[in-house]
């Protein structure tokens, strides 16, 4: 890919010299009414108590290993690969909504992080940990008692690590038309995929503002979306719109996380942006990225049964009904942290010309 590098070190030094925690901040980060951030941390927005008894009073769900043993007990019966292993895997990839024998434990809490997506306060809505009513986060109800997603679960641990490690997943938001990071009634947010590593601190645990990210307009076209929004008392709140996030997980499978409708709700400073990307996940797309990123083997680590979860997703789905009235999307949110970054847009000509190149190589 054609390089369009700028002196990232110099930019970082500029920002470091002017770094400030003041909400208005120095001019270094907000330049030409523009500021950008790169996604550096991502978890599903769940409300978790330490012992889980409040939200999961009957414990966590069973996973593939446990379900397999229930279906096919070790009682000396000879069984075939087709009737057991392949039948279970077929259910993963071609799930159904037919009732199954396994109970599914939904999260019982009345509290959940997220956003009020429909502007209403309904009986199935949650109250946020800060007391905001009407939170739409039915995904929490579906995954809140699956250990994989909880603090300490494999997916909980690794997803954000891969977000940080893999450039495929690099996600940038660029805010333009910004007059103030405190109050501005009309800003534009554009999402891109970046091409560069995050700038880590000395310990590797923190990421530093002031790095640079090249925008991927060649392979990353499908990750470019625009949102209109406003900044109120330092919080960015966008309108809702379609969004697809790159989501590479285990073993390099380049899957995507598709929202039918999403919004950003982020507390802004010149150095970082923290909050949620809330919205309605497309169930089929969400389910596919789960299985492309996480094999039954990995799901077993965190007692996550994909076929059981599929049923729960549709049972709890709360938006985008199809022609039959069946909802096809489920509300949810990602708990996210962004770190300020300087964005480098490519020259105009880089988009298409090189794509023809490999034809010569391969043919």
């Amino acid at each position: 890919m054609k390089k369009y590098l700028a002196p990232a070190v110099a930019l970082a030094a500029t920002l470091a010299a002017g770094s400030s925690s003041a909400i208005e901040g120095p001019a270094a980060a907000l330049q030409n009414r523009t500021i950008a951030y790169v996604l550096s941390s991502e978890y599903y927005a769940l409300y978790q108590t330490k012992d889980a008894k409040a939200e999961c009073p009957t414990g966590f769900n069973d996973g593939p290993r446990e379900q397999f043993k229930m279906l096919f007990p070790d009682d000396g019966t000879k069984r075939t690969v087709v009737d057991t292993q392949l039948a279970r895997e077929a259910e993963v990839w071609f799930p159904t909504l037919k009732p199954e024998a396994f109970p599914f434990k939904e999260a019982q809490s009345k509290i959940a992080p997220g956003a009020n997506l429909d502007g209403k306060v309904g009986p199935n809505d949650f109250t946020s940990p800060t007391g905001e009513p009407g939170i739409d986060n039915q995904l929490y109800r579906a995954i809140g008692c699956i250990y994989n997603y909880r603090d300490g679960g494999e997916l909980w641990i690794i997803t954000t690590k891969w977000r940080q490690q893999h450039n495929f997943n690099r996600t940038i938001i660029e805010l333009t038309d910004v007059d103030s990071l405190v109050n501005d009634d009309d800003v534009t947010v554009t999402t891109y995929r970046g091409l560069d590593k995050l700038m880590a601190g000395a310990t590797g645990a923190e990421f530093l503002p002031g790095g640079s990210q090249r925008v991927d307009t060649r392979w990353g076209k499908e990750f470019i979306y625009k949102f209109h929004g406003k900044i109120v008392n330092g919080e960015l709140i966008t309108e809702q719109g379609e969004l697809v996030l790159p989501e590479m997980a285990a073993f390099e499978d380049p899957s995507v996380l598709p929202y039918r409708s999403a919004m950003f709700k982020l507390k802004l400073t010149p150095e970082k942006a923290e909050g949620v990307i809330a919205g309605y996940f497309d169930i089929e797309g969400w389910y596919r990225q789960l299985n492309q990123g996480w094999a039954t083997h990995h799901q077993s680590y965190g007692q996550e049964s994909a076929p059981s979860l599929y049923r729960a997703l549709y049972r709890l789905a709360d938006a985008f009904p199809d022609k039959t009235g069946k909802n096809t999307a489920i509300s949810g949110a990602l708990d996210v942290k962004f770190t300020q970054v300087f964005v480098q847009h490519p020259p105009q000509e880089t988009s298409e010309a090189p794509a023809k190149k490999l034809i010569q190589v391969a043919h």
Binding site: K3, T84, E89, R218, F251, P254, S300, A362
Partner: protein, 452 residues
Amino acid sequence: MRLMRANILAITALIAFGPVAMAADSKKTAAMVEDYEHVPLPPGFQVIHSELEGPVFADAAGHTLYNWPSKGLRNGDAGEQKGKPGCDNVKQTETSGLMSPYPPGLILPEVETRPTCTQVWPPVLASADAKPVGKWTVVTRNDGSKQWAFDGYPLYTSILDTMPGQTNGGTHRRTRGDAPAYRKPVSPPPNLPPQFRVERQMTGRLLTTGGFSVYASDKDGPNKSNCDAACLRQWKPVLAPAYAKAQGELSIFERSPGVNQWAFRKKPLYTHLDEEKPASFEGSDEPGWHNVFTTMAPKAPADFIVQASRGGEVLADKKGNTVYIYMCGDDAIDQLSCDHPDTPQAYRFAMCGGGDPKRCLETFPYVIADKNAKSGSMAWSVVAIEPLTGKKAAPDSTTALHVWAFRDRPVYTFARDKFPGDIGADGWGEFNAWRNGYKAFWLRDDFRNNAG
């Protein structure tokens, strides 16, 4: 069954050798066969140039030789240790439980007709008076017979190879996770100075140094660099140390007084500055610059195009639908593959249609070919498939589909892909599809190593 012909020259002439920059003159490139270290061979063996794997050892009839090195799976090891043949004539009937998360003891599909390991992988037997030569040794099988080994690993041929130069039995293609312990073609060492390595890519055998791609420029002459000061801001000559000597197809020339640079087939070599990803293709985006291949993979038939995707480039049908390869190995201790039409189709049917062959045809349709289409290579072919069994059709079948195959295995598209270059089925299947499922036909991956 085998129709071997020792017409090696005819085979090699089909192959596109060398990088793009050097492939313009077909008469010249026909002679550009990848060099290798001419290690001593026992009588009856030879080296053949394969399209996908470069030079490989073969028996007298031209069958490519394979080994089966041990691989650690989640619940134990499969494959062979050096000096210990493990592929025998015992029919396996149950799974071994080596691949997580399923238990052992499950009865294998088509168990009544399941072949033994040696029926699929005939051992390369040695005569009683066979003598070791170099790294070629003789090991004793469990039944007392003698078998040739190379570098300690017992050698086999594959029943899927029917012509000299075919490598249908196995590949050095990279795998991940609990992929089976695959068989791999055995090759003589490449004739390269220690600074260089060859990396297997779907587009060919890529020359690298320190893991990074090397490039050649159209502006350079034979053993002459025209990379000036401006050029050097992007490109770093691959310098040869004072003690280095020309070897094989790599020569050394003096780019400036006292400074020596490597050249491959007389083309000066460079790395691309700031390239972070090993075995990258990014430098070839610069006009006039090319990756360097010791052997180019044969071009795909005209029914295919190259399509941009979210991670790089994939092979696609003419409409831009991403093409997928199906991968499968069973979980018996002998790890026989199940990715070929001659093997049980129950694995694939589970992944492509939940067990329903008709749904498979809708979800993962074959890439249909003209019955008489020719590919110009051995790697690509047209095969007749019985659609509801997934197996090769009888010659007189009236229901057969004629479909494109790569390495004698059909390729597919995915009906749920929504736009050209969508890769919605990449990783669709057991263990991210490395064990039993579909992977996109990656040609270039700018983010990870899916094309490797």
